[in-house]
């Protein structure tokens, strides 16, 4: 039924060779690149024109952020493993890996909460200086993306049995799109970590 409303959701469109969903998620990610790009450009402006700029490690907690980097990279691996399990028709492992991805998302947010709380306790606020302003904006926007990715992943965890019974191919495609978003969130963090914490 939905096939007639929105065409090419599980079959590739002949001219692009892709499903419309795949084109859609990549166009969305392209817009996300520009959104984060604007903040990275702002960072460059603030930093190159500042007379003084603190080393990230003098204010921020590098060990915690290193753990968070490892958590996020691991969650990207569990995400692709969830997709691969689905391709192998292994529903149990799919749920295990996707569940692990969501849990690792909570883990990332938990560590971020600890970091933010420590800053607030020491009265280090976005209004304190430009470094903290761009730090809170960029990690805050990234954190919102983590929450967004966790919501879609959680949905594909909860709704999976009904997809599994009715349209396995569709579940495979949608989990792949959700994964593309999740990997993008990981990719942004890969740049945020060195520029905010290590330089």
């Amino acid at each position: 039924m939905s096939q007639e409303l929105i065409p090419y959701i599980t079959e590739a469109r002949p001219d692009t060779g892709l499903t419309n969903g795949k084109i859609g998620i990549w166009c969305f990610l392209a817009s996300e690149v520009m959104l984060f790009g604007a903040f990275f450009a702002s960072y460059i402006v603030l930093r190159t024109t500042a007379t003084e700029w603190p080393h990230g490690s003098s204010i921020l907690n590098v060990p915690l952020a290193t753990v968070n980097t490892i958590v996020l990279i691991t969650s990207s691996v569990t995400m692709v493993m969830a997709w691969a399990s689905l391709m192998r028709n292994d529903f149990g492992k799919y749920r295990m890996f996707l569940g692990a991805t969501v849990l690792l998302g909570f883990c990332f947010l938990g560590i971020k909460y600890v970091e933010y709380s420590a800053k607030f306790e020491h009265h280090l606020l976005p209004s304190t200086n430009n470094f903290l302003a761009i730090y809170f904006i960029m990690t805050g926007l990234h954190g919102l993306h983590v929450i967004g990715g966790m919501i879609t992943n959680a949905y594909f965890l909860v709704a999976a049995p009904s997809y599994w019974d009715h349209d396995r191919a569709l579940l495979g495609h949608r989990v792949e799109y959700s994964g593309l978003f999740w990997h993008f969130v990981d990719l942004v963090w890969i740049f945020l970590f060195p520029i905010l914490y290590l330089l």
Partner: protein, 126 residues
């Protein structure tokens, strides 16, 4: 490559096994690079070297994620074209502030923020 990546893979367990081996290798590489970039930051290199090394490592890591986890290594031309266009504009966006500051950066007496090695949380806000 007549079909989409996922649809082809779904019918070929051997290919999925190959994918999984790649994922594990990429995972190990990303972990090593994460530790390397943190270790390098503790060496307290000169700022230009530190920036170059950190950005190089981050770019390699991001490329691994995009190529293998996001399957760009076997993606269709349409997606690669969209991304090439996005990459062009994203680079332009990042270069814009650098270009507008070019006269300052090339003027030796301008105190560029990057040279400030202050280990204090002093405000950069005047």
């Amino acid at each position: 490559m007549s079909d989409t990546h996922a649809a082809r893979a779904a019918h070929d367990p051997a290919e999925i096994d190959r994918h999984v081996r790649t994922y594990i290798m990429v995972f190990a590489t990303l972990m090593v690079l994460t530790l390397v970039t943190v270790a390098v930051s503790y060496l307290h290199l000169e700022i230009h070297e530190a920036v170059a090394i950190a950005l190089l490592i981050a770019t390699v890591k991001a490329s691994l994620v995009a190529l293998f986890f996001m399957h760009l290594v076997s993606e269709r031309q349409v997606v690669l074209s969209i991304l090439a266009l996005t990459g062009f504009f994203a680079v332009a966006l990042l270069l814009l502030p650098v270009v507008t500051n070019l006269d300052h950066i090339t003027t030796a007496d301008m105190p560029v923020g990057a040279t400030a090695g202050a280990h204090s949380s002093e405000s950069a806000h005047h």
